[in-house]
Symmetry: C2
Subunit: 209 residues, 2 copies
């Protein structure tokens, strides 16, 4: 059984503390070997029934990137329209995606119809397949961070429209749109806390039954 | 900006390779300080709009544990009834939860109605709140593994019935039921692969658009 040293555990905590949702990227490219190495963490993620339902689409062509960016801009404008007063002012000033500039962008889907795993564990809670995709994304996110790369998760999108624009199967459900690249800066404070949108809870509540 | 050493990165890969979904636990207790330390990783997870929608319920009383176990046993019997032939024979022999014996058990919910984060990022894809809870679970899972603890995720449950049995708010959606404790054994091969239910893909497909 592999053991992990106190030094490793300390650095692992540091990794969790300094992982960030990055929205400000430098435009210099990410080496493809490094990207592939980080993406290999997907294959080590837990998945319900070993269904491995993650499906990755690299959004690379100018047309595909434009469609995704316009999708975000429209959804973001609609979201802004839902706020008023101080919150609207704050929201309008937020930078919520690095889709303009991040060199690598990836749409991550869940194949809802995969036969792999033969449905094990997904009868009562089929959403667990999508959760498996999230697990893989989180492992990738942390792994990328160990290499100095930043990852930003964009959820302000019309998921059906993106699926159509990227021409992927109807049975694939969008889980996340990831911006990946070298971060402009790194901090241990979430940007939404820094700008005064929201604060982190001071503690974790734990009910008991 | 914190950097991570080659040694750390190597050990991080080892952590991903040896993280397992554990279903066979020793019954000796988990020190509460250690458990709390591992749970602290929840607070470092990414969450949409900084909504921190995770809600944890430790399932501790004999009555609550019995209700959860019966829930699993019924859902598992129904799942078995959905297979035939060789798959049914295989399924019947699988150990799919450590709910009989794992000393610590935790139901993890998503508060779908939290006002925290003011809905930022959750207008078009409200499921991102649940994904935030998954992200926190994965961070906890890895952190627990660095301490030698095993975690098993049970999804073969009637989620509504569990919510009622645990008497939590209607607005909380079950994301996972976690069994936590000292694993009987640790391997780098998923149990479902070991018993011949399913195999891991040899590579990760990456589409390009």
């Amino acid at each position: 059984m592999p053991e992990f040293s106190p030094t490793f555990r300390q650095d692992f905590d540091r990794l969790l503390r300094w992982r960030r949702d990055v929205r400000r990227f430098r435009t210099d490219p990410v080496d493809d070997t490094l990207l592939q190495d980080c993406l290999s963490s997907f294959r080590l993620a837990p998945s319900v029934g070993l269904s491995e339902p993650w499906r990755l689409v690299r959004v690379k062509s100018p047309a595909a990137r434009r469609a995704a960016l316009e999708n975000f801009e429209q959804a973001n404008a609609e979201a802004l329209a839902g706020y008023s007063g101080e919150k609207a002012r704050l929201y309008a000033g937020l930078k919520l995606s690095g889709m303009q500039e991040s060199p690598v962008q990836m749409a991550v889907f869940c194949d809802e119809e995969t036969a792999k795993g033969s449905g094990l564990g997904a009868a009562t809670m089929p959403e667990t397949r999508r959760y498996s995709v999230v697990a893989a994304i989180v492992q990738f996110w942390l792994k990328a961070r160990t290499e100095g790369l930043g990852v930003g998760w964009v959820s302000i999108l019309d998921a059906d429209r993106l699926r159509e624009d990227l021409q992927v199967s109807d049975g694939w459900k969008l889980v996340a749109y990831l911006c990946i690249g070298w971060p402009m800066n790194v901090t241990d404070t979430p940007e939404l806390e820094h700008v005064g949108w929201e604060t982190r809870n001071a503690s974790l509540d734990l009910l008991e039954r």
